[in-house]
Amino acid sequence: MSVSGGGLQARFTGRLGDFTLDAELTLPARGVTALVGRSGSGKSSLLRCIAGLTRLNGRLVVDGQTWQDDRHFIPTHRRAIGFVFQDASLLAHLSVLENLRYGQRRAKHGEAVTFDAVVALAGLDGLLERAPGTLSGGERQRVALGQALLSQPRLLLLDEPMSSLDADSKAEILPVFERLHQALAIPVLYVSHDVLEVRRIADRVLTMGQGRIVDTRAMATAEQAFAGFEPDKIRRLALAAHLAGLDPA
């Protein structure tokens, strides 16, 4: 399974409700980038802007194509994205199979991602005839991922796909997301606030705060920064973070 891509360059500015988004980011042509930050920092809003679901002023180039600038705004349905929402991203009136086919049938270019490959990657065999309402949370998100991949995206956007799952469902779906960076040759942007998840899935980490990207680093560097720390110091840091309103766990 390989899709070629040329990365993403984006900048968005504007007011959304009671905060201002002013974010600039660049993603490489492949690899999983985690977007972290406390809730309300604008992570999901940024993701929605990239998908075209929310419209702010800005510029967005994906794989050499301009999706948005001062004069153009390509609507969501003409952007080659895959989007997995926090919850309820399946079409409730269709079976799992019909959900998977919905985007596949409407994909404009190529069959780089095949049905069988997706079923194997996300472990969907045996679920195909089911109705979304009968699936567990973990199963639902695996189907949602499969649905997004089959729409032949050039950019995959995941909005806290595991935040509403219990520990068992998370354990079941994490390996699927871990396989993503080997399986896909497109940029993946992954919103999360779970450090453990990010450690296992991401290659790079972007940190957002108050509508801005405040930090960008490779996962390895981020880990290195804390490599030599004593457990006691880590505990104190965690406590400090907690008191500052962050949730290190």
Partner: protein, 221 residues
């Protein structure tokens, strides 16, 4: 008697089909738009609920009479008047039952929320495509409720059909107006038969509505 029943069924059926087509875009607009003045439009569309049917019928009679400005626009097409015609009756019934179509469909569209349409858009469905493949199927219970209500409400109307239809036998006379003229001429046996028929029909409609709502409730939980 059969003729009257046939006119009634034809009127109710035609009104239901045409009204669903007209009310759907309006319900969609009301459910999706966020402008302050949309509730004014919604109030106008809901007026027939509280307006006396004779008032509505009176205005329609004037609008559909040969001398009205509206009809003079249709004169070149050979249409002189729609008052006391079956077409006029259909138009009147559509306006009279408009809220019973708009409200359930609007509610169903609103209950569905934004998400299914966003999902469809991220899966490359154009807005029109998403409307027919996602919004309409997901709001199907609203459409079903609207169809049942409009059909039943049209069968049960009296004031409007009398005002603009005039109860012309074989053309615009329906069951409810026939019952009235039967009672006026003291033919109680026939009035009983037709009334019992409408009573049974009304009961079945309410039962159907409750079952639809119960199934909708079960699906939602």
């Amino acid at each position: 008697m059969l003729e009257v029943i046939w006119t009634t069924v034809k009127l109710a059926g035609l009104t239901t089909v045409l009204l669903l087509i007209v009310a759907t875009p309006l319900a969609w607009w009301l459910a999706r738009r966020r402008t302050w003045w949309k509730e004014i439009i919604a109030a106008v569309a809901a007026l027939p609920i509280v307006l006396p049917p004779t008032v509505l019928g009176f205005y329609l009679l004037i609008a559909l009479a040969p001398s009205s400005p509206l009809m003079s626009l249709l004169h070149p097409f050979g249409v002189r008047t729609l008052a006391f015609t079956f077409t006029g009756l259909v138009i009147g019934s559509m306006i009279y039952s408009l809220p019973f179509a708009v409200q359930p469909i609007r509610n169903a569209f609103e209950a569905m929320g934004e998400r299914p349409l966003e999902v469809a858009a991220t899966l490359r469905a154009t807005p029109l495509d998403a409307f027919f493949t996602v919004a309409v199927p997901q709001a199907r219970r609203g459409f079903l409720a609207a169809a049942v209500l409009v059909f039943a409400h049209t069968v049960g109307e009296f004031g409007v059909v009398l005002m603009i239809g005039g109860a012309v036998p074989g053309k615009t006379e329906v069951v409810s107006t026939r019952i009235y003229s039967l009672v006026e001429s003291l033919q109680f046996a026939q009035a009983h038969a037709l009334s019992l028929g409408l009573l049974t029909f009304a009961f079945l409609v309410m039962l159907a509505m409750l079952l639809i709502e119960r199934r909708a409730g079960q699906a939602a939980s």
